[in-house]
Amino acid sequence: MTTPKAPFDVQKIRKDFPVLNQTVNKQPLVYLDTTATSQKPYSVIESVSNYYINDNANVHRGIHSLAARSTKKYENSRQKIADFIGAGSSRNIIFTRGTTEAINLVATSFGSTFTAEDEIIVSLMEHHSNFVPWQLLSERTGCKLKFIQITENGELDMNQFDLLLTEKTKLVAVVHISNVLGTVNPIEEIVAKSHNVGAKVLIDGAQSVPHVKVDVQKIDCDFFAFSAHKMMGPTGIGALYAKEELLKAMPPYHGGGEMIHTVTKEGTTWADIPYKFEAGTPNIAGVIGWGVAIDYINQIGIDKIHDYSDMLTRYAIEKLSTIDGLTIYGNAKNRGAAVSFNLKDVHPHDVSHFLDQKGIAVRAGHHCAQPLMTELKVDATNRASFYIYNTFEEVDKLVEALKEVKAFFTF
């Protein structure tokens, strides 16, 4: 199979990522675990250290020059993030520690009015971050959880979804792109159908924003949660997008500084959105670094990023499929850049440990998706995932190493 032509200079891009320039176990590092977290370019790393070197001051709290400078950079980033996902206004972007906290915010705040009469629909391919918060809410309020089944191909069973939707459905929470199966879910269809019965929709976009053009207004979802670290930004920072009328109606999530308007002995009034949901000093350096990561993506172009990750993924699937005894989980027509697989009779931990000896980093485990593992009838899988800094040669190395794994363990 000939390798397709990359839409940009991959070798030049690789030079932007200092972490890639190292050996692991005396072999050049092959990083195939972007789905867990992406690597960071120099520009992002430098923006974080430059903030501490030059601008460090608390935001929204001071008159002095440093406070003004850091506030400006912080709010510029919020605008970039809003523009990047088509949010309309930066008022709709609430900073959180990541996708997980964004979803917990919705469960705690939006979910606070749920009762035993209400129902939430989630799918069986959710990451625990879009599963456990709803179980907790169900325990607190008595609301009922219902599950969208998965087809043989690893797609959502949309016929069964239709049967789950009723006028009792208050919220539908689904992942945009599965971190295990790679499946891209038909979220616009899910939103339209859910809105028909009056239900709100939360989309977990942790794996989609780094890879595909997202337009939350076009999707028309009510909530959209995502993280910086999967898209070359720093760890510990993410955001929740939500429609304005919902944010205005929802009670605060955490109490503290920044989220208030007036505090008296008798009570407190809330700041405007988005600040109402941002108690305490935020992760300022993280937000600034995230904005620079978005600049980096925009310089390359999200469509080119998608096309190249897709080329690598299709190349990998074709090559992996030639290995006897290798099973790939998920065969959706529309898919992202994560490929989960198992080798017959070799546990994923042993596979991953062997690959590490070759300098190849893949994920092994349940991928924080145990209900999905149960559906797939496996304890764990290996997962290789691809991004702009990976090469076709690295995919070849993975495939060759997997053949050696087989020989080693089945001696």
Partner: protein
Amino acid sequence: MNEEFQDLYREIILDHNKSPRNCRTMENPDRVVQGKNPLCGDNYKVYVKLDGDTVSDVSFEGSGCAISKASASVMTEFLKGKSIDEVEKFFNLFHEMVTGKLDVDDCFDEVGKLAAFAGVAEFPVRVKCATLAWHAVHTAVTSEEAEASTES
């Protein structure tokens, strides 16, 4: 492939992974303990039959990686006929060996086949795999708990 890795997966481990010994349900056990590694999903049930304070039979069933399975298998062979005090002694010795606190050369005569797991010390992420079944058997002979984890 580097030497440490080859050493870790030496013949004993590969062999016990492929054909685990005492991998069976036990009829009428005195103790059954479930051992789970929540992070990686290794999951075994360890059965113990006691005759006074002697382990007259020990078996296991479940699933996990080669290191965890081979360790459970070698352990069951090793512990049969040992007293509860000896189980505890070897639980501690094994733990010290795979965490690198004890040089295998200093206990080789005592630990016998268990020495196959000395290489785990080079790979701290695999310590929990190697010790899972041991935690289960330790729980079985020292408590009434039905579950063991390597987190404790």
